[in-house]
């Protein structure tokens, strides 16, 4: 069992950091929350509603978005197309109107393309918009992954190692975007290896090890927790 007896509360509007050594079950937990995996036991409660075992697309429509640890993108399409489709899917109008090419759907298509451009501009991606995703540098791909997730307009965002493999200026840009999301009322659950960033960005931190929660608290408290230090000793990512 990859994750067991993890009891986790995410408060509205906060950035909760989820850390732990490799293989401690962080990604599995995200997969359980957003429906890519079905929990064999336990529950996922979102705004008082039991959403455990819902398929991923329904979880997304309820308002939980996510990014991936690897760069999961529609690789053979441009940045603009990637973000546009995510916008369009979550327009409330029916796609069959779009099939008939009716004027109401036309105006909504225009809206989607405008908000796509706005989002790309905000995230510093506008100059990349016509490039194929497969041709982008790693750091930009990670940013596009987040842009796709943001286009869905989630209330809660699950970020799986957003800083993975990024250089310093890319990290700075990502931190800026994360703080921007927080200021707009998005609740964030941040899974990350890089302790320095986690300590700087997160309001609260939960530590997992071997699929169990071993600590929870403010960044300062977690940093000095005996068990956390023990769990991380010997891990090459240990760089407080």
């Amino acid at each position: 069992m990859a994750v067991s007896d993890v009891d986790l509360d995410v408060n509205e509007g906060e950035i909760l950091g989820l850390i732990g050594p490799n293989g401690s079950g962080k990604t599995t937990l995200l997969n359980l929350i957003n429906g890519l995996l079905r929990p064999s036991r336990g529950k996922v409660i979102f705004r008082g509603e039991d959403v455990s075992g819902f398929p991923a697309y329904l979880i997304t429509r309820k308002g939980i978005g996510r990014t991936f640890q690897q760069n999961v993108l529609f690789r053979k399409r441009t940045v603009w197309e990637n973000v546009l489709i995510a916008h369009e899917v979550n327009d409330k109008h029916d796609e069959w109107l779009s099939f008939l090419g009716l004027s109401r759907s036309r105006s909504q298509e225009k809206e989607a393309s405008e908000s796509t451009l706005r989002l790309l501009d905000e995230m510093g991606l506008i100059s990349w918009k016509d490039r194929l995703c497969s041709d982008l540098p790693h750091g930009i791909q990670r940013m596009v992954g987040l842009a796709i997730a943001r286009a869905v307009k989630p209330d809660v965002m699950l970020l799986d190692e957003p800083f993975g493999g990024m250089n310093l200026s890319e990290i700075a840009n990502m931190v800026r975007v994360i703080e921007q999301m927080k200021s707009r009322g998005v609740t964030l659950l941040l899974v990350e290896h890089r302790m320095k960033v986690v300590m700087a960005v997160c309001d609260r931190i939960v530590v997992l090890n071997f699929g169990r929660k071993i600590a929870e608290g403010l960044p300062g408290e977690v940093r000095n927790n005996e068990e956390v230090i023990k769990a991380y000793l010997g891990d090459r990512n240990f760089d407080f």
């Binding site: 890519l36 529609f74 995510a86 899917v89």
Partner: protein, 321 residues
């Protein structure tokens, strides 16, 4: 579509409508009819390929349309026009039931499941109720479409020319539907499902529902094409809808390229004509097919149309600079 494309499409359409008035050869007309029918079938197959799956039951769905229409016109004496619509719809209903099982799988598993479904359907046609379905001998004497009388003008369809016109109009209708699919949000959704199913689900797409819709559209179009096939041939048997026919249709799509709407049609036209030239080679024909497939997949995996359009774009871009 830009102005050049609209102009090109109109010119081609006009030529195709005018052709039978200039060319009197029955043989030529028959080849043209089969190009239209196989274009329809390949366009149907491409609809499913958009969501990233290849259905090997496609030939079987073509057969379902063909058999249903043959039975409706022969046993119930329904008009061809009514039977055509009913048979296409019925094929869609079959696709709904079989598809709701098949689209739960993907990739190799989808291939095996649809292969098994297709062969099962064919074996049912071969063995079940021979008095109705004719067993391995199939059904003979399928009637041509009845004439349409609009007072001052009577249109007859019992000639090659009549069938040519019907098949051409049917192809144009299918092209129009597929063009709208491509241009609309549905097409974009199917496209991203084909590229990454997991990400598609995570941005809120009901992958199962869209794959099923694609399967139903794809199969109904196969049924529609199958009806034309039956009434053109006037004779059908289970052998006309075997696994090899499904492979043949797949080749048309791969040869022309699945990305663009023109791809499957160019593929069908080229390979049907080529097959006529290779007729003398008999069973060796398959070797040529195999060679062509290997060459296309190795050197232009995006298909002939995909390759040519990419070239054109490159020129256009360099001119802009």
């Amino acid at each position: 579509m830009n102005k050049t494309q609209i102009a090109a499409a109109s010119v081609i359409t006009a030529i195709l409508f005018g052709l039978p008035f200039g060319v009197k050869s029955q043989y030529f007309m028959t080849v043209a009819i089969f190009i239209f029918i196989y274009s329809i079938l390949s366009l149907g197959l491409r609809a499913m390929m958009k969501v990233g799956e290849v259905s090997f039951a496609h030939a079987a769905f073509m057969g379902i349309g063909a058999y249903i229409s043959a039975l409706l016109t022969m046993k119930l004496q329904l008009s061809f026009w009514v039977a055509w619509g009913l048979a296409s719809l019925a094929t869609g209903v079959f696709a709904l039931f079989l598809g709701s099982l098949a689209v739960r799988t993907k990739g190799v598993h989808f291939f095996i499941v649809t292969l098994a479904m297709g062969e099962t359907i064919r074996l049912i046609a071969m063995n079940w109720n021979a008095r109705l379905l004719g067993g391995p001998n199939g059904i003979y004497g399928i009637p041509p479409p009845p004439p349409i009388d609009v007072g001052f003008l009577t249109m007859r369809f019992d000639s090659r020319m009549g069938m040519y016109m019907i098949a051409l109009v049917a192809l144009l209708i299918v092209v129009a539907i597929m063009w709208r699919v491509d241009k609309s949000r549905i097409g974009r959704i199917w496209d991203v499902i084909g590229q990454d199913e997991k990400l598609a689900a995570v941005i809120g797409i009901n992958v199962y529902r869209h794959k099923l819709a694609s399967f139903i559209l794809s199969s109904s179009v196969a049924g529609l094409g199958g009806v034309l096939f039956a009434h053109t041939m006037t004779y059908i048997s289970p052998y006309d809808f075997s696994f090899f026919v499904a492979v043949q249709l797949l080749m048309y799509v791969i040869f022309g390229g699945a990305e663009m709407l023109a791809g499957p049609m160019v593929g069908a036209a080229t390979l049907v004509v080529l097959a006529e030239f290779l007729r003398k080679a008999g069973h060796y024909e398959l070797i040529f097919y195999g060679l062509i497939l290997i060459i296309v997949l190795r050197f232009i995996p995006e298909g002939v149309v995909g390759y040519l359009s990419k070239k054109r774009f490159m020129f256009a871009r360099s001119e802009e600079r």
